[in-house]
């Protein structure tokens, strides 16, 4: 009994250490400069300065950043799902010469991290004049080896009888893929989508390398720049700005946490 209480206390402490910094983030975002530099710090500001959020939003083209972030994340997801379904179909339900060799290449791509590709891709994009475009953000991720792998796996589970029956009913290839197979593979598609969206919404490295222009910069870059431009330690503004990138993810996480945890377990254990 004593041990149980002790474990629970230890666990509560860890959970507290994990969550409290976010409380602190929100609390700081509602303080004024005097509140930020007060020592010892106050747990909660009175009165809360909600205008910090407006100030942070106005301190750069944040609407642009947010729109760009959404375009980047959605563009990548749509391409990955589209090509993933096409390739997954070709690798699972069609037989053609060289299929297994090609699939081996896809598997090999799984182990190439973006940090390996960015130097040659940067040189390539700069040569063809595509730096500072949505293309440089989306195209390198338009095809996902992981997505192809997972979708192929899900399509393989679908009985060939269903495929044959659909074909007899006159389904063309696209109907077959997007109307017959994709709905059956929905759990896989949802899991992969959550994984992809979280990754690319938060991505800092790739936009940092590919963009130097506010017209295509994304939220993580904009938020990181809040500190660089800041005069002194405007932590209330920086924390408010950070919420632009954090809040959407945490809201989605709060709603779909079980799915997200399952998605991250599923995508890595396959």
């Amino acid at each position: 009994m004593g041990i149980r209480a002790l474990t629970l206390a230890a666990l509560a402490l860890v959970a507290m250490a994990e969550v409290f910094p976010y409380v602190w983030m929100v609390s700081t975002s509602l303080k004024d400069m005097a509140g930020v530099t007060r020592f010892p710090p106050a747990l909660w500001p009175a009165p809360p300065h909600w205008e910090n959020y407006a100030k942070a939003w106005a301190s750069g083209p944040f609407l642009r950043y947010a729109v760009n972030n959404a375009i980047q994340t959605a563009g990548i997801l749509i391409c990955q799902l589209f090509f993933g379904c096409l390739a997954g179909f070709a690798f699972s339900k069609l037989s053609w010469r060289g299929r297994d060799a090609c699939f081996l290449v896809v598997i090999a791509c799984l182990i190439v991290p973006p940090q390996v590709r960015f130097v040659p891709l940067y040189m390539l994009f700069s040569k063809v004049g595509l730096l500072n475009t949505y293309a440089s953000l989306i195209l390198p991720y338009a095809v996902s080896a992981l997505g192809t792998f997972l979708i192929r796996d899900a399509f393989l589970q679908v009985s060939n009888d269903i495929v044959d029956a659909a074909r007899v009913d006159g389904a063309g290839t696209f109907t077959m893929i997007f109307r017959v197979l994709a709905p059956i593979a929905r759990p896989t598609l949802v899991a992969f989508s959550l994984f992809s969206v979280v990754y690319h919404w938060n991505d800092f490295f790739w936009p940092l390398v590919m963009t130097t222009n506010d017209a295509v910069r994304t939220l993580p870059i904009g938020v990181a720049m809040l500190r660089e431009e800041g005069t002194g330690d405007r932590w209330h503004i920086i924390m408010a700005g950070s919420m632009f990138v954090v809040a959407p993810v945490l809201v989605v996480f709060a709603i779909a946490q079980r799915h997200i945890i399952r998605a991250f377990t599923f995508t890595s254990l396959k």
């Binding site: 474990t7 230890a10 666990l11 509560a12 860890v14 959970a15 250490a17 994990e18 969550v19 910094p21 976010y22 602190w24 983030m25 700081t28 930020v36 530099t37 007060r38 020592f39 010892p40 710090p41 182990i111 190439v112 991290p113 940090q115 390996v116 960015f118 130097v119 040659p120 940067y122 040189m123 979280v198 919404w201 938060n202 800092f204 490295f205 940092l208 390398v209 993580p220 938020v223 990181a224 809040l226 500190r227 330690d233 932590w235 920086i238 924390m239 950070s242 990138v245 954090v246 993810v249 945490l250 996480f253 946490q257 079980r258 997200i260 945890i261 991250f264 377990t265 890595s268 254990l269």
Partner: protein, 247 residues
């Protein structure tokens, strides 16, 4: 500018004391992150391996940091670790510890980055270990209990051996992801103080985008890729040998 063949010159350019410092920093950072997050992740998974409401809530709150942007987490921790007004400084003072300059002291900065990384990503090994634990058949524990095994013995002789594939998987995966660490360095320390936190990918980035030595950066990328391929291959070998272990 036209490309020119330079043979191995770019690789020779890498062979410097500076580069070895980078490799050392990377290894230190990786070992710290992998060991700490794996031990902590396993402990949390074992303790939280019950399907209760509180358990689910604790799991979710511990995992939540894993999906939050590195940029936000890094900024947040610069602020928390601020030697003057930071929350950590205040907590230290509260319990009578001396003020520490976590990111400004070259002996501590890399360790601070390790701790922040573990704080952010410990939820990942936790959920992977939880998935591994759930695959262990309950009757093994009943059998062990019948044989009079206590809690620690059950862990030592049932849980731990059966989790070997999970442990190996995490060992390699976490090593590879920690080798890719970049955001936290770029935002929290920019490699400083005195290059004590320059880790591999940050070094590549610096060479390519601050010194515009794309050849040298590419050479470093190739070495990096060789290591990743070797690690993945090691993982594959380990799994081939261990597959029978689970059944």
């Amino acid at each position: 500018m036209p490309a020119r063949w330079v043979g191995a010159a770019n690789y020779r350019a890498l062979a410097s004391a500076e580069f070895w410092d980078v490799v050392t920093n990377t290894v230190k950072y990786s070992v710290g992150v992998v060991v700490l997050s794996q031990v902590l992740g396993l402990a949390l998974a074992v303790l939280l391996n019950e399907r209760t409401r509180v358990g689910a809530l604790l799991q979710a709150s511990i995992f939540s940091s894993y999906v939050v942007s590195w940029v936000a987490v890094s900024l947040l921790w610069i602020w928390l670790l601020d030697p003057q007004y930071g929350l950590v400084a205040w907590l230290c003072r509260l319990v009578g510890l001396p003020a520490v300059n976590w990111l400004g002291d070259h002996r501590l900065a890399l360790g601070s980055l390790v701790l922040v990384t573990v704080w952010k990503s410990v939820g990942y090994p936790m959920v992977i270990y939880l998935a591994g634990l759930q695959a262990i058949p309950g009757d093994l524990y009943e059998a062990a209990a019948l044989d009079g095994a206590g809690g620690w013995q059950r862990f030592r002789h049932v849980t731990w051996p059966l989790l070997t594939p999970t442990t190996l998987f995490l060992l390699i995966t976490l090593t590879i992801t920690s080798f890719q660490g970049f955001d936290i360095v770029k935002i929290m320390t920019q490699g400083g103080p005195v290059a004590s936190t320059v880790i591999y990918v940050y070094y590549i980035y610096e060479q390519a985008f601050q010194y515009f030595k794309l050849g040298k950066a590419s050479a470093a990328v190739v070495l990096f890729f060789v290591v990743i391929v070797a690690l993945t291959f090691a993982q594959w070998l380990a799994f081939r040998r261990r597959v029978h272990y689970t059944t």
